[in-house]
């Protein structure tokens, strides 16, 4: 019994992982084909991008380089050649940085992850706290001010905010440096962690602003809905105080959608980082993609397209899996509830009215009454807490 259950749950777990991997691979393939079509159609001249616009070489030499690189081959052939190299771990050499694309991606992704991670955590924590406070004290002065600011900030363009922040905090107040990830003119070996953090704070703050605004508004709305719900009203009718209500029912029901939103926000975060990094000259993926796009660095562009697709995809997968693990409506309905009839006390015999046929002793496992924003296939591989015994 236990073994067969274990086997069946392992099989569904394996199915889920295989399915996710297949979707990831097909997504990456689609993204690479689409990006390749776009860069092929764009008026990029890789040879000029490589040698630089000032260098004077004859058209014959240019043509020789182009022929050497296979630029006269039909696009499908070039794509297949690129794909073959990528599958062998070679994403090509960046035309503007003269370094292997994989090395650049790694270095830039680390810098970007620090920036985006900080902004992400800030927007999640700050937004959640402010949203909860606003929702609980709906209609208060704090709520009104926060709501108005959040509405304004959520539509403010990131690059404009970044410029504003640079002007105020770096130029006038001089609290923070003028962009970059490390102090200019300092040897790489001398750069401390404090230096890096100091350079990270302003871009991270700016990047988190729209996230904070969105999470605040969303959490506030969910909290207001939760506190006006029938279950909150019933709890009130059972003498629960406002704080008990918030703690027992409010936070519980608000945390789930907030968590989903937080992981699903990876795409926006990446989009915002492109603009913020550009303004702060922060050497992350975002500024690399701008440089690559403006100067026609096709290998780097394709590499970044793949990495960003992977990044957003993993955010969504994490949201899906977490939702399935945390929300009991998905977790419990993924595994149909089977009480062991033999071990259960006979409910009808303990009923105060033995004559009435007990029409209700078998629990039913209904499908989730509230489908999640991102539906998780009810694969049922999530383990029930406490194993499979209910006795």
């Amino acid at each position: 019994m236990h073994v067969s259950r274990w086997i069946s749950s392992s099989i569904s777990a394996a199915t889920y992982i295989l399915g996710t991997t297949a979707r990831l691979l097909s997504l990456l393939l689609a993204v690479s084909i689409l990006s390749f079509c776009l860069v092929s159609a764009a008026p990029f001249d890789p040879v000029t991008a490589f040698i630089g616009p000032e260098a004077v070489i004859s058209p014959e030499q240019k043509a020789a380089i182009a022929a050497h690189w296979g630029l006269y081959d039909p696009p499908p052939l070039r794509y297949v050649a690129w794909l073959n190299n990528v599958l062998h771990g070679d994403m090509g050499i960046s035309l503007i940085y003269r370094q292997p694309v994989t090395e650049i991606l790694l270095e830039r992704a680390l810098a970007s992850l620090a920036l985006m991670g900080l902004a992400w955590a800030l927007s999640g924590i700050l937004g959640f706290v402010m949203g909860v406070v606003c929702g609980v004290f709906k209609g208060s002065v704090f709520d009104k001010i926060t709501k108005t600011c959040a509405l304004a900030l959520s539509v403010a363009p990131t690059f404009w905010l970044a410029l504003l922040a640079l002007m105020v905090f770096s130029v006038f107040l001089q609290w923070f440096p003028m962009g970059m990830a490390v102090p200019a003119g300092k040897l790489a070996g001398d750069v401390t962690l404090a230096d890096r953090l100091w350079h990270l704070i302003l871009p991270a703050l700016v990047l988190s602003v729209s996230g904070v605004a969105n999470v605040t508004l969303h959490t506030r709305e969910k909290m207001v809905t939760a506190l006006a719900s029938n279950y909150a009203n019933f709890a009130r009718a059972r003498s629960e105080s406002r704080w008990q209500l918030v703690r027992r029912h409010g936070l519980r029901n608000v945390a789930l959608p907030a968590l989903t939103l937080q992981f699903a926000s990876f795409a926006e975060l990446f989009g915002g980082s492109v603009l913020a990094e550009q303004v702060f000259s922060y050497p992350g993926l975002g500024s690399a993609v701008t440089a690559a796009g403006l100067r026609g660095d096709i290998p780097l562009l394709l590499g970044i397209a793949l990495v960003s697709a992977l990044f957003v995809f993993s955010g969504n997968v994490i949201a899906n899996v977490l939702y399935g693990l945390i929300d009991p409506r998905i977790r419990e309905s993924a595994k149909p509830f089977r009480p062991k009839q033999k071990k259960l006390p006979d409910t009808s015999s303990t009923s105060p009215l033995p004559n009435t046929p007990d029409t209700s002793s078998s629990p039913v496992s209904l499908p989730s009454p509230l489908p999640p924003v991102i539906a998780l296939k009810p694969t049922g591989y999530h383990r029930r807490p406490g194993g499979c015994s209910h006795d």
Binding site: T347, T356, S360
Partner: protein, 334 residues
């Protein structure tokens, strides 16, 4: 546990307290547990832009219920019955305004007192699974904020809920389990008044009857039970008296015996029509509809449909008055 007695052997008569109707404070001991005088609930709404309208969803409602008694408030769906429960508990939506006077144990039921009493002296049995937190296990919810786990287990045992049910989430409950869980929420608190709002939807007749018998049992143990329902047949089986709800008010509050005796024992023309409309009493339909809460007529709310209607019916306020051991809101009732 009190032995179960058939409700119809209870020769209850309504607790008519003439002095209570005059709303004075002479002898608290003779007051019914809960007494409501001229309760009105109004909602202010914006209709089409900035035009404000007032909906009087409960108007001049009077009734009383005492310890040991099951009172069924019977009315059509959507006639504002649930608001009565919310008004007594003080959990109406923020845009609701109430007027009138409610007393509990002889003392006026103010908003502050409602807050102290609800959950402690007055319990609410809601109508659907929406009233349980979807993300909290049933056992913890029944336990609430003031009771022990042992109390929760005891009340589960009383209602035939197996221990494993405590670890289920609300969405995993069957209809019958849900009813028992909701009743358990009320019983775990040692209250003297239980207000149940439509406690039997979606149940088979047998299961609904079992739920109603639970309420009968709770009243026999010395509580007052007020059941709000649209199902008059279920009320017949367990209630001591029935209050007939129409367009936000009570037309007649009569002992159960009068509903068994038939239309001649009943007082209000609407109650008589309701009696004749029941399948087992001729199934005779009654033309017309209840008036809309936004446009209530002056005088009697039933005048437009009433065969006894005279010009006096459409003037002034029709007061609730005592008649033949019951209460009626009709100037012509004999």
């Amino acid at each position: 546990m009190t032995t179960h007695t058939h409700p119809h052997t209870h020769q209850h008569y309504l607790h008519i307290h003439e002095h209570d109707l005059a709303s004075t404070h002479h002898h608290p001991a003779t007051y019914p547990l809960l007494s409501i005088r001229d309760l009105s609930v109004r909602f202010t709404q914006y209709e089409r832009g900035l035009r404000q309208i007032t909906l009087e969803t409960v108007s001049s409602l009077s009734l009383s219920v005492d310890v040991g008694e099951v009172l069924a408030v019977v009315g059509a769906s959507g006639s504002g019955k649930s608001l009565l429960a919310q008004a007594i508990l003080g959990i109406l939506p923020a845009n609701a305004r109430i007027s009138g006077k409610m007393t509990f144990q002889g003392q006026e039921l103010t908003a502050q007192r409602q807050q102290q009493l609800r959950g402690r002296e007055i319990a609410f049995v809601p109508q659907s699974v929406d009233y349980l937190d979807p993300l909290m296990k049933v056992g913890r919810q029944v336990q609430g904020v003031r009771n022990s786990r042992q109390q929760q287990q005891a009340v589960f045992e009383r209602y035939g809920l197996a221990p494993f049910v405590a670890h289920l989430y609300p969405f995993q409950l069957s209809g019958g389990m849900l009813r028992r869980v909701l009743i358990a929420c009320a019983v775990i608190e040692d209250v003297s008044l239980i207000i149940a709002d439509e406690p039997t939807p979606g149940l088979s007749h047998a299961a609904a009857l079992e739920v109603m018998r639970h309420f009968r049992e709770l009243a026999d143990e010395g509580r007052a039970v007020l059941i709000i329902t649209h199902d008059i047949n279920l009320a017949f089986d367990v209630a001591d008296s029935i209050a007939v709800f129409y367009a936000g008010t009570i037309f007649e509050h009569a002992p159960m015996a009068d509903f068994i005796a038939g239309p001649d024992a009943l007082r209000h023309p609407y109650t008589k029509a309701l009696y004749r409309a029941l399948p087992k009493h001729g199934f005779k339909p009654h033309p017309g509809t209840q008036p809309y809460a936004g446009a209530l007529p002056a005088g009697c709310l039933y005048a437009k449909r009433c065969e006894w209607s005279t010009p006096e019916c459409e003037q002034g306020t029709i007061e609730m008055r005592a008649l033949r051991g019951g209460m009626v809101r009709c100037i012509h009732a004999l």
